[in-house]
């Protein structure tokens, strides 16, 4: 019999809710079948911990006695420029922003990108103060033209993490067919298929467990780096219209989520700045999405294992940057990727990942305990995410 989210929340309230992680549930559904399992299980938790460059924070600064208009001016935090094209006291600090004077990639030398916007965000979450420098042009109502002081969360009315794109539903496996090493957002790729890098929690990944966006939509409450966050919108580049497998999971990057949450409540354990040599700065956040088991179909969706999920192998030396050459070198399952090596053109290629499966497990377990303890309730999406276009017909 089908369940509603309200009925599941009632079970959470009464302490009778049955929660499994998306990893634990695989064997159970195999043993009991999706119909029986769907009657026994109420919620399945997913998790992911991975870098995503499309991240940043909206900050509203408390004014001094003499007020200042930052909008249209110039603002840095620890030397990293924030976007000031907003109101008098609002700024947006992007994760990939770099300080002036960072050598970047220069004269053939690969940048190290040791400090950027994501590091400022991490410093703030760790409770540190950062140096604000701001220049405005002064108005009758906002006369102050220069402000320089150490600030932390106490000096901000709001600090909100707003990531325009997170939780990519599946992603490329990156390799390098050329004769020299390349440095990409998928890490260092050694020449002649020296290594293959992927970036997904696979069977624990949120959108791979709700492939058609039946329960995850705008307004869905989730665990975001130590606090409650929400799906604000579909993420940028959300593209449900990609080829799918029999189990309806996409065979390439597809859906994405825009996420929002209170940065002031986040935990440094679950939010980390990253530096990609030769590429730039990025931010890793922890996301845990609960999936309500409304019926047998949802039970089937969340029971996918790494062996049931496939990702495309893409050459980042030619096809990805230029669009020239072979679009796809093959397709591999997450089970193969997680075994430590995949086969491409008869060659064993060692694999590495940027999405921590160990952390993804921790996130899913943590969210499970929050729900079991009655500290986290599920929400009905206010509006669904767009799914595959119907006119496309059979997506398989």
């Amino acid at each position: 019999m089908a369940k509603t989210i309200e009925e599941i929340n009632e079970k959470i309230r009464s302490g009778n809710v049955v929660v499994f992680t998306a990893e634990e549930v695989i064997d159970l559904v195999r043993k009991k079948g999706p119909r029986q399992a769907s009657q026994e299980i109420d919620v399945v938790t997913t998790g992911t911990f991975s870098p995503m460059c499309s991240s940043g924070a909206f900050i509203n600064l408390k004014q001094d006695k003499q007020k200042m208009k930052l909008g249209g001016g110039w603002v840095t935090l620890n030397g990293v420029q924030a976007y000031a094209g907003l109101a008098a006291a609002d700024i947006y600090l992007g994760a990939t922003a770099l300080p002036d004077g960072d050598p970047r990639n220069n004269n053939g030398r690969r940048g190290r990108f040791r400090y950027g916007g994501a590091h400022v965000i991490e410093d703030l979450v760790q409770g540190k103060q950062v140096l604000l420098k701001a220049e405005g042009y002064g108005t009758d109502c906002y006369p102050k033209k220069w402000r320089e002081q150490m600030i932390g969360f106490d000096e901000m009315n709001e600090a909100v993490l707003f990531n325009p794109r997170n939780c990519y539903q599946n992603y490329n496996v990156a390799v390098n067919l050329s004769d020299k090493p390349i440095y990409t957002y998928m890490g260092k790729l050694n020449p002649r298929l020296g290594n293959a890098n992927y970036c997904s929690a696979g069977q624990l990944s949120p959108l791979l467990n709700d492939p058609m966006y039946r329960t995850i939509g705008i307004g869905t409450r989730l665990f975001l780096s130590g606090t409650e966050g929400y799906v604000a919108w579909h993420g940028t580049q959300h593209n449900p219209n990609v080829p799918r497998l029999e189990n309806l999971t996409p065979r390439a990057g597809a859906g994405t989520l825009a996420l929002v949450g209170n940065l002031k409540e986040m935990d440094p354990k679950w939010l980390r700045a990253v530096s990609f040599t030769g590429y730039g700065v990025s931010l890793s956040v922890a996301v845990g999405l609960p999936i309500p088991i409304l019926d047998e179909e949802m039970m089937r969706f969340v029971s996918v294992s790494d062996a049931d999920l496939k990702a495309p192998v893409i050459d980042y030396s030619q096809f990805y940057p230029t669009g020239e050459g072979k679009p796809k070198l093959g397709e591999v399952t997450y089970a193969e990727l997680k075994s430590g090596a995949i086969q491409i053109d008869g060659k064993d290629v060692p694999t590495g990942c940027f999405s921590s499966y160990q952390k993804a497990r921790e996130v899913a377990e943590h969210l499970k305990s929050l729900i079991t303890d009655g500290r986290f309730f599920l929400s009905c999406p206010v509006s669904p995410l767009s799914g595959p276009a119907e006119e496309q017909g059979d997506l398989k």
Binding site: N107, N195, N197, R272, T277, S284, F354, Y357, Q358
Partner: protein
């Protein structure tokens, strides 16, 4: 026979001199180069294992110093900072000896110093800067 792991710093102007060749041919040392680089200012750095008897090692060191090459012992090598590591595994395929490896049950990454040859492949690729090289 003794083995010493060293970091050799070559001053500008010596990079076209076949110093390692002389170390092998004239001083009888076995040289296993673990890493070598030349920067834009034509200064070179070689991380190597030198193998020979005490006399050979001493004479080889004197020769290097006569060429202006600085010798530093390689002591602490690679440090894996566990509290910074997220066990993402991006370093694992790039570690040639399996010193950095992941337990595929727990998915925790660990570093085995006995297997590490200080090739420094991991240092540049860890996005969390959880592996660092220490030469002293």
């Amino acid at each position: 026979m003794n083995t010493k792991k060293v970091v050799l710093s070559f001053p500008p102007g010596t990079v076209e001199d076949p110093i390692i060749y002389h170390l092998i041919m004239d001083y009888g040392l076995m040289v296993n180069i673990l890493r070598a680089s030349i920067d834009a200012g034509k200064q070179g750095r070689v991380v190597a294992e030198l193998k020979g008897d005490d006399n050979q090692l001493k004479n080889g060191a004197n020769f290097l110093e006569s060429k202006g090459v600085e010798i530093e012992p390689l002591t602490e090598e690679i440090r894996h900072i566990e509290e910074r590591c997220t066990s993402c595994t991006s370093c694992v395929p790039l570690c040639p000896t399996g010193a950095l490896d992941v337990d595929r049950e727990t998915w925790l990454v660990s570093h085995d110093a006995d297997k590490c040859v200080v090739c420094l492949s991991c240092v540049d690729v860890c996005p969390y800067r959880a592996v660092t090289a220490h030469f002293q």
